[in-house]
Amino acid sequence: MMRAGLQKTYSSSRRKPGSTVVANPRPFNMPSPWIPAFAGMTRSVCIAFKPQVAIKHIMLILWLVLCLPAYAVGVDADTLPDVKAEARARSIMQDVRCLVCQNQSIADSDADLAADLRQGIRARVAAGNSDAEVKAFLVQRYGDWVLLEPPFNEATLLLWFAPFAVLAGGLWLLKRRAGLPTVASAPLTAAEQARLDQLP
C-alpha cells in the first residue's frame, strides 16, 4: 500500500525513541508542503518542519518584501530649510510624473531629470508659489502628462465620465428587464407531477 507506507515514514521520522507513535495529524493524502525556501534540504528536515510555522515565516517574508518599494525614494542633498515648505514641496512631488521613468512620481525616482524637477519645485515653493502655481509651472512646460492624476478638462471628459455612463447604461438595461412582462410558467402536467412526487 503506497499511501500507508508513506504515512509510516512520516510518523516514524517524527518519533522520539521511547515515545508512542502518534497518528499523523495530516490527512494521509495531503502531500508535505513544498517550501521553496527549503528546497534541496533533505526530506526529513522538511517533514520535521511544521507547516503552520512555515506559513507564518513565509507570510513574514512576503510582508517584508512588500515594504521594499518604501525604500525607493529620491534623495537630495539640498532640501529647504523651512520644514513646512519642504513638506509642501514633497507633497507636490508625489503628484508629478517622472518623465524618464514615466510611471513613477519624481519623489520616488532617482533619475537625473527627476532631481532637477524636485529642485525646480523647491525653488518655486521657496519663492512662495501655491501648489496650483507650481503645478501650472510644470504643466506649462511638460503638459498635463506631467501630473500623475489627469486633470479635468475637455480632453479627459470621456476618461472621467465613461465609468458613470457605463453604470447608467447598465442600470437602464436592468430597469428595462425589470419592466418586461414575465411569462408565468405552465402548470405541471399530471405525468410531470407524478414524477416529481416519486423523487426522493
Binding site: 537625473d112 531629470l113 512646460r141 511638460y142 502628462w145
Partner: protein, 179 residues
C-alpha cells in the same frame, strides 16, 4: 418585430471597435509621442555661457529665417548618432543649427565637438538643465524648429535620422520659408 434593430447592434459595436483599432494601428501614429506645450508659442528666452567664452542668448539666433535648436550632451549616445544629420542640416540645407549642451561641462563639449565636427552656429552650456526645463526637455537629444518670428514650430524627440529630415524637418522648414 419592434426590436429588430437590436440585432444590428453587435455588428455596429464590432465596427466601432474595429474603427478604434484601425485608428490605433495607423503607421504614422505614435502613442508615446508627447506634444510639446510650446508648439505655436514663443520660444522661451535663455541666457547661457557660450562655448569658447561670452554668452549665448535667445536674441543671438539668426533672424529672418527658421532655425534649429538642438539639445545635446557629450555623454549621450543617440546625440552622436544624429550628429551626421545635424552636420547635413547646417552644411547641405543651410539651416542655422544652434546647440544647447544639456547637463554637460564645457570641457567635455569642446572635446565632443573636436572629435565629431561642429554643426552649430553657437553652443550654450546649460549645466544645470534649467533652460532645458523651460523648453520642456525630458532628455537629450531633442530638437526644436523655431520660426523666423521666434515661435516653436516643431519639436523632435530623440535622434534625428535621415527619414526625419525628409518627412518632418524639411516640410516644416519649407512651409515656414514660403510664408
Amino acid at each position: 418585430m419592434m426590436r429588430r434593430w437590436l440585432y444590428g447592434l453587435p455588428l455596429l459595436a464590432a465596427m466601432l471597435l474595429g474603427g478604434v483599432f484601425l485608428f490605433g494601428l495607423q503607421p504614422t501614429r505614435n502613442p508615446q509621442e508627447l506634444r510639446s506645450m510650446l508648439l505655436g508659442k514663443p520660444m522661451p528666452g535663455f541666457d547661457l555661457p557660450a562655448l569658447g567664452g561670452g554668452r549665448f542668448v535667445a536674441a543671438d539666433l539668426a533672424r529672418g529665417q527658421p532655425v534649429i535648436i538642438n539639445f545635446f550632451a557629450s555623454w549621450c549616445v543617440p546625440c552622436r548618432a544624429e550628429h551626421v544629420q545635424l552636420m547635413q542640416l547646417s552644411s547641405r540645407y543651410k539651416i542655422p543649427v544652434y546647440g544647447i549642451a544639456w547637463k554637460d561641462s564645457p570641457q567635455n563639449v569642446a572635446q565632443y565637438i573636436k572629435q565629431l565636427g561642429n554643426p552649430y552656429a553657437a553652443i550654450g552650456i546649460d549645466q544645470t538643465g534649467r533652460v532645458g526645463m523651460d523648453f520642456g526637455v525630458a532628455g537629450v537629444p531633442e530638437s526644436y524648429i523655431i520660426s523666423a518670428k521666434g515661435l516653436v514650430l516643431y519639436r523632435h524627440w530623440g535622434d534625428i535620422r535621415q527619414e526625419h529630415i525628409d518627412a518632418q524637418f524639411l516640410p516644416v522648414l519649407r512651409g515656414e520659408a514660403q510664408r
